[in-house]
Symmetry: C3
């Protein structure tokens, strides 16, 4: 997420109550999770084992819970609870804006686009030309929809990431990460009825051009889906996955987070994908395997009684 | 789908730019997929291996991409891209009509039926008597709902079929089939919350009398479900399936397309049904098997270590 | 469910047309399923094998289809069809009240709570302070939402239980149980988009404090979920389950009805839970097993060809 205009790190430090180490003349231009950071960004780290990765990342401003040596050209904002400070910043610079209308006056809707009744279009949403948004769809703030997009009834675009920090010592144990990312749906996409596509935590969830979704598909935060993919009904994909072009997921497939499915892979119905898959192959099973290998295994199981018989008689 | 009134084939040919072979005095009375055609219907075929089936079908008017011998009493409409011509006809004779109201003035709603707030009822919808349509339900155009039907909140009736033609040579690779079928929900059906029941491509999706659905059930295009079925939560059924009377599908069962599940079959939770099942039996597994056979297999797997031990020692 | 004020059993008997056996001076204070009854409650029994359990339960007033000896301090209401009599009572004392407004005038909404557009809030709903109810959410009558609760778009709170009585001799074979329970969502809960949480049949469905749900989660009637649980996307839980505190269910897990998952259990993605699970362990598979045992079994299957080879040669 980028700020509307650069903000002095001294202002950031004062706002979150941090001690400032390093170059106090720097300006922050955005805020991002560690895997998404660009120069000018604020990021945060609160586990010692990730200090090094964060300090060496592109992040310019690092909220950290230990005073360490500041790398040149950066600035550290030191305080006890970087997670809460980060959330405080998100709330300050991308605050939740309650709607005053079902279709926000700040939304930009292209020519030829049809918005059916009972649709919600949030603040700062952009919808391209010649789209059809069917009834009872919800499009959260800041979503971007391309041209020739069809979204069927009841679908929800841009709900918050399912992302919490565990606080084992508190009565309410999970502390919500505020999401400031967006959903971007490219041109010529069709989304079925009753789907949910979450926004990214700080980056964007992207549905690539020409991809088609059946009904009741769930896409987690920050997941990036390529072009011309086909997902059948009730598929679920976790957060920050990367599904490359031309991937086909059949019905009820589940895909875990933080993995890649290579170009042109086909995953058969009800399979579960726990880790990255090479492109160009067909997969089946939970956990998933090469489909032919899996089918052979299913047949081998049927031979166990014969093996038993051979070894033990009856 | 039937036209409101018969249309001369010469008019059809001119509209889609086809060369006309055969009896040019014929009138078209409707438009249908090949597995649904009746005399008077227009259908289309674009693969040589299906030419014969289409020419011998009940279709009277056949849109085809090769000049072949026209069977007697029929007419061929010859052009390069029958799929696009068919879609053009659907758009012409069943055009999408944007709503002007949440509840269309053309909808017919029976006595004693309660429509809760935030419901969308599309054009030419019929709803019978003594129904309850709970909030935020969407009923697309042309759906037919019987008497004493309950539809819980957030459910979507009549979204488009998930049906695309692959065009490997185009940047946007999947070409949408326009659906002109309907959803028909018979009397005494109850549909849970958050379900999605798609319309047929040209025929009807039918939910038989007295059938009861739990929440989040997905039914694909043109699927026909019998009477007094019970489907538990999160069941998904593909397109053009036929589920006979008294079938019970437990939670999260997935059923593939173009198959039949026989009368009285019971499919246990999370099973996957890739092909037709005989009625009157209990099934389990993904892919599904006779439940007792599957349970035995699960137990046989547990004996592999003992077999290994016997063969290899430790 | 408790009545607003006690009702004389003679009035109840007259209303449902029952013969009264036992103490006819008693007053009914509520109506409950057998596993939920408290003194003063009406319950019903229609199978001989459950007579004893019902007569010995805490229920004070028992609707029964056979004249048996009435236990002291109780009263029997004898008629042919106790199920229908029970349903008639529910309809009489907790009638469905059609909405006159998207947000009922009888709803109580706490300070600082934001209700986004297109939300339905039913009669007698209570929502606490500082909640956000996102667009197109449906909250059925009598639901109770605590403080600091977030409910994402399209979610449905309080739809009817999926609970039917089979009447094999009738054309419409399943007879609906009218639900009179509620949904109670405690403080600091977050519910994702497109979830469905059904009301209890007579008791309450409860989501415990600090629990967080991802999108498209289905919770059956009367299920009680503890504190600080995490459920990932597309999880489904049947009716009257008890999920204790700190349970984690990963994506697409299915949980059957009438069981307990113990404190701190973790169930890996796509697992199916057919029966109770001990707390503090990690589970996987459908049907579920100890995750390590299941993973070993998956590996043992891969050794069957080697076993076959050893026994039979090629």
């Amino acid at each position: 997420m980028k700020f509307n205009e650069p903000i002095a790190v001294t202002e950031i430090a004062a706002f979150i109550g941090a001690e400032l180490e390093g170059d106090d003349t720097l300006m922050a231009t955005g805020i991002n999770e560690i895997h998404k950071v660009e120069p000018g960004d604020i990021s945060f780290v609160d586990f010692a084992k990730y200090y090094d990765a964060c300090l060496k990342s592109a992040a310019t401003i690092i909220i950290i819970n230990k005073k360490v040596t500041c790398p040149p050209g950066k600035v550290l904002l030191v305080l006890d609870d970087p997670f809460s400070a980060y959330v405080k910043l998100v709330k300050r610079f991308r605050p939740f804006e309650p709607a005053t209308n079902p279709i926000s006056a700040s939304a930009v809707i292209g020519e030829g686009t049809i918005i059916q009744p009972n649709v919600f279009v949030g603040n700062h949403v952009t919808i391209g030309t010649n789209c059809i948004i069917h009834p009872n769809v919800t499009i959260y703030d800041n979503s971007i929809i391309g041209n020739n997009v069809i979204i069927h009834a009841g679908t929800v675009i841009g709900a918050d990431a399912f992302y919490f920090k565990k606080r084992a010592d508190r009565e309410v144990m999970y502390d919500k990460m505020e999401s400031c990312g967006r959903v971007i749906i490219e041109d010529d996409v069709e989304i079925g009825a009753g789907c949910t596509i979450d926004k990214g935590v700080s980056g964007d969830t992207i549905i690539g051009r020409g991809t088609k979704f059946d009904n009741m598909i769930h896409i987690g935060h920050g997941t990036v889906i390529g072009r011309n993919c086909l997902f059948a009904g009730q598929v679920g994909v976790g957060g920050k996955a990367h599904i490359e072009d031309n991937v086909i997921l059949w019905g009820q497939v589940g895909v875990s987070k933080d993995l890649t499915i290579g170009k042109g892979a086909v995953v058969l119905a009800q399979s579960g994908v726990p880790a990255s898959l090479e492109g160009g192959k067909v997969y089946f099973g939970s956990p998933v395997e090469d489909a032919k290998v899996k089918m052979k295994e299913i047949n081998w199981i049927k031979r166990i009684p014969e093996i038993w018989q051979k070894l033990y008689g009856n």
